[in-house]
């Protein structure tokens, strides 16, 4: 990531605000679309951002989503101040969830969020500190590698 970024930005996400959950992902999708990136790439980036945003709204006090676009890839970081995840391995298991009924009413909280983020990212990193917060880093490649497509 030494290249000069094509785009760099940071958007804040308010914890607990379900009414606006998804606004940040929609903005990021608009930005990436305007940059002329392929629609399947934009869709993947919006998807991982949206799941991250839902996680921040659902569990954290506040957070931010950073977007960093360079030739060849999109990097998205979701950083929150919140309870953190005590057991990341467990949290990554499909179906594991600590979601409240409110989150489930929204159609989330079935323990699929982190799995979806991982499966739609070309690179995914997660770290967390209990009582402090969680950090997610996702990279989506924008130019297709013919060997892996």
């Amino acid at each position: 990531m030494d290249e000069k970024p094509l785009y760099e930005g940071c958007l804040t996400v308010a914890g607990g605000n379900f009414d606006n959950a998804g606004e940040v992902s929609a903005s990021i999708k608009t930005i990436l679309k305007k940059m002329g990136l392929p629609s399947d790439v934009v869709r993947k980036a919006a998807l991982v951002t949206y799941e991250s945003e839902i996680n921040i709204v659902s569990y954290a006090r506040r957070g931010m989503i950073r977007l960093h676009v360079v030739p060849g890839s999109i990097m998205i970081e979701a950083i929150d101040e919140g309870p953190g995840i005590p057991d990341i391995e467990l949290a990554m298991q499909p179906g594991y969830s600590t979601a409240s009924p409110r989150i489930r009413e929204m159609g989330f909280g079935a323990g699929m969020g982190l799995c979806n983020i991982k499966s739609f990212s070309d690179m995914f990193k997660i770290s967390s500190e209990v009582g402090r917060g969680t950090y997610l880093k996702m990279i989506i490649k924008t130019n297709r590698d013919p060997l892996n497509s």
């Binding site: 869709r43 998807l47 159609g107």
Partner: protein, 120 residues
């Protein structure tokens, strides 16, 4: 199928997108769990759901869903109407239960956007 044929087939009411009824769709995905919609629905598909909250629209927007069919007579809240208008995504409501919606659409040639879930 063309969206207006779907409207007739399901005796649906168009809540948003009266001007987009000439759109053609070939595939659909049905779920109330938005994480599964994100995981499995493909761009350009219909989203059939019984869930009514803004996250349905947000989810549809994120993954380029063509149109939303709300079953069991579900309707949009005023804030959802505003959001759907802004996103310009057609939303239809039908009194048919989701099973009937799926069956009727399938019998007219609409197929699942994927047949089975599996390893990627």
């Amino acid at each position: 199928m063309i969206l207006h044929e779907i409207k007739d087939l399901l005796e649906a009411e168009v809540l948003i997108g009266e001007d987009q009824l000439d759109m053609e769709v070939k595939t659909a995905f049905m779920a109330d769990l938005m994480s599964d919609v994100l995981a499995f629905a493909t761009a350009g598909s219909l989203l059939i759901t019984g869930l009514t909250n803004p996250q349905v629209l947000r989810t549809a927007d994120v993954i380029d869903i063509a149109a939303i069919i709300m079953g069991r007579g579900k309707r949009l809240s005023p804030e959802m109407t505003q959001l759907a208008e802004m996103m310009n995504i057609p939303v239809l409501t039908t009194k048919y239960i989701l099973f009937e919606v799926a069956g009727r659409l399938y019998s007219k040639g609409i197929r699942g956007c994927i047949e089975k879930v599996g390893s990627k």
